[in-house]
């Protein structure tokens, strides 16, 4: 009965005209940046954070969330029509989606991507609704040791699931932790590594960091590659998949939903990993794996369903535990803090309107996305014809203004430039920026939890192994690290390069 009451509350919030407007803006902007290669949801959300200062917290979070899951829809369009993934989570969609377009079946590929995303996203929202409440109730009994251990698990799993070298990811995670320690010490108010710069007293800002690492760096890399676009035309009447397509894709959609939902919850999982795993699973289970890459609809349906399911389920650890599982959620974490809301299990009790309003807005947003992506596909295709050398100055201008306007600080712009250079070099040298950014967000929580735990135990580290949840988490950390070290020893050259 309480669940129905919560859902009714959420719907009453999500269906308010102003929140419907913010939801529409979010999914529209999300689709737009998904379609346009060169700027992702992380950069866009960071860019729009200052704009949300003037909005209600509910409207702001509804809009920012819409950008994230909207980008998953839009990302498939460029993968299928241009063979350039609009988002990292749509990279595998290029393999079969683009081939389908070359075979004259761009319409069904786009349609299946949108419908699969809708189905996967909707099921994941149901899972989010059902799982968040018990998880948040369990989290209320967590103390600092449990939070410290969970953070350790998050950091290790993050590097474990990284796309590139685990060793390099782990190093970037530790570097992110180091950056998070810049600023006044929370317990003693002693300035740490501020070098006399007043603006650094509050630490390195999250927005300059992510805008530099993910916005500016991405543009610098894109400027080095020629982005020739050959767009395959499709008639709008051919958008809907045929009955044969549905029969071929039904299990790919079902599996994609499950894979996306569970990988979305894991730290470091999210939309990108789930799309890759889904594609690999479909190929392995197929009776004709050799046909993958030549334009099979399962190769589009599975990954596109999975990435959207993951985008929705990654809200679970953020909203129920207060732990962002990926960089996008870290930006949302920052957004909630800016609005005076501490993400975690208490949100559900203290701000049920926000929690349930955001969750229910995702249903509304998914329906909007279906309408935006099927009948309006022609509009997005026309947008693809805008040359990149017209787009990038605009994106850079918005990055610079977005960073500056947070604190009206030129130091933040300089920091963005610095992290832009760092991010560019990291991409060139095979280091992933995601572990750095996520560890940066988790760092202060990790340090607070550690110091509070030690204060509770009188300085005994045994507190982390005598409490069941903490002990289990630490055991998991040990197992994961052992696996990592073992695989590192077996293939040392691969890991270090």
């Amino acid at each position: 009965m309480e669940a129905f009451h919560s859902i009714a509350l959420g719907l009453s919030v999500a269906l308010q005209p102003i929140n419907l407007f913010f939801c529409f803006v979010g999914v529209f902007v999300g689709t737009l940046i998904g379609v346009l290669p060169g700027i992702g949801p992380v950069g866009t959300m960071s860019l729009l954070l200052p704009v949300t200062f003037h909005l209600s917290p509910v409207g702001a979070i509804i809009m920012l969330a819409g950008i994230y899951y909207g980008a998953q829809y839009g990302g498939s369009t460029t993968s299928i029509l241009v063979n350039i993934p609009g988002e990292a989570s749509s990279i595998v969609t290029c393999l079969d989606g683009y081939q389908m377009a070359r075979n004259g079946r761009a319409g069904p590929a786009l349609g299946m991507a949108a419908l699969g995303s809708f189905l996967g996203g909707s099921v994941a929202i149901v899972g989010l609704t059902l799982l968040s409440v018990p998880l948040a109730e369990a989290a209320l009994s967590f103390g600092p040791p449990e939070y410290f251990s969970l953070m350790c698990v998050s950091l290790v799993v993050l590097t474990f699931l990284s796309q590139g070298s685990m060793y390099k990811s782990l190093m970037m995670g530790v570097l992110g932790l180091l950056l998070s320690f810049v600023g006044l010490d929370m317990f003693t108010s002693v300035p740490r590594f501020t070098f006399g710069v007043n603006e650094l007293s509050d630490g390195v800002g999250l927005i300059p960091l992510v805008m530099g690492l993910f916005g500016v760096a991405e543009i610098l890399v894109n400027l080095e590659t020629s982005m020739k676009r050959e767009i395959y035309a499709t008639r709008l009447g051919e958008i809907l998949p045929t009955a044969r397509d549905w029969i071929a894709a039904k299990w790919a959609i079902a599996r994609g939903t499950l894979i996306g939902f569970f990988l979305g919850i894991l730290p470091g999982g999210g939309a990108v990993l789930s799309s890759f795993v889904s594609y690999a699973v479909e190929r392995r289970l197929s009776r004709h794996p050799e046909r993958f890459g030549s334009g099979v609809i399962e190769g589009v349906a599975g990954p596109e369903t999975a990435n959207n399911a993951a985008a929705q389920s990654s809200f679970i650890p953020l909203l129920a535990l207060g732990i962002p599982p990926n960089v996008v959620m870290a930006v949302l974490f920052g957004g909630l803090l800016i609005h005076g809301i501490q993400p975690g299990p208490l949100v559900m009790q203290q701000r049920p309107d926000l929690f349930w309003g955001v969750v229910m807005s995702m249903f509304v947003g998914n329906a909007m996305l279906l309408a935006l992506n099927l009948p309006l596909i022609g509009m997005w295709v026309r947008l693809l014809r805008v040359p990149y050398d017209v787009l990038f100055p605009l994106i850079l201008l918005f990055c610079a203004v977005g960073v500056y306007s947070v604190n009206n600080s030129r130091t933040d712009v300089y920091l963005m430039v610095l992290f832009g250079l760092v991010g560019y070099l990291m991409q060139k040298l095979g280091y992933e920026p995601a572990p750095l950014a996520l560890a940066y967000v988790l760092g202060p929580i990790l340090e607070t939890a550690l110091r509070q735990s030690l204060a509770l135990s009188g300085g005994s580290l045994a507190i982390f192994v005598t409490r069941p949840i903490s002990a289990a988490s630490m055991l998991l950390v040990l197992v994961l690290l052992s696996v990592q070290i073992f695989s590192h020893r077996r293939s040392p050259r691969k890991e270090t390069t």
Partner: protein
């Protein structure tokens, strides 16, 4: 620069950074396990980073290199583009407080369209001017406060 040389250089930078952070953390005060000081966590993290980077440095230095690939004019031009974009952003950051949003963004767009994107001068001028003005109006409508500079723009 070869991949091996790049990895060696990166590892060396990380080792130096970690060593510097360890020294800085020590000066801040490590405290003890009962009451960790402000330098405790940075020291632990820097020590871990330093150790990992050192292992990578030794491995890379010991591995046989493939030799440096010859430098190409196109790569030099690409690096030039990166430097110009970053310098333009720095210039924007330095100018916005004193010149205001519209003038500094106009200047930034002039460089990006004209020098980096290599658009004709009249396209550059028209695009930079119109985007700077429209962006000003949009940000004002969104309630984002930006400096106006001496001309109030």
């Amino acid at each position: 620069m070869s991949e091996r040389a790049a990895n060696v250089a990166t590892s060396a930078v990380l080792v130096t950074l970690a060593a510097g952070t360890c020294v800085g953390s020590w000066r801040l005060g490590l405290g003890d396990v009962h009451t960790p000081g402000p330098g405790f966590m940075p020291f632990a993290a820097a020590a871990l980073l330093g150790a990992m980077a050192l292992v990578q440095l030794v491995r890379q230095a010991a591995s046989p290199g493939a030799g440096d690939p010859p430098s190409r004019p196109r790569e030099a031009r690409r690096r030039g583009t990166v430097v110009i974009v970053l310098a333009t952003l720095l210039g924007f950051g330095a100018a916005i407080g004193s010149l205001g949003f519209t003038i500094s963004s106009f200047g930034m767009l002039l460089v990006l369209f004209g020098v980096v994107a290599r658009k004709p001068w009249w396209v550059t001028l028209a695009a930079a001017l119109s985007i700077a003005v429209v962006a000003r109006l949009v940000f004002r409508a969104l309630g984002v406060e930006l400096p106006g500079g001496p001309l109030g723009l």
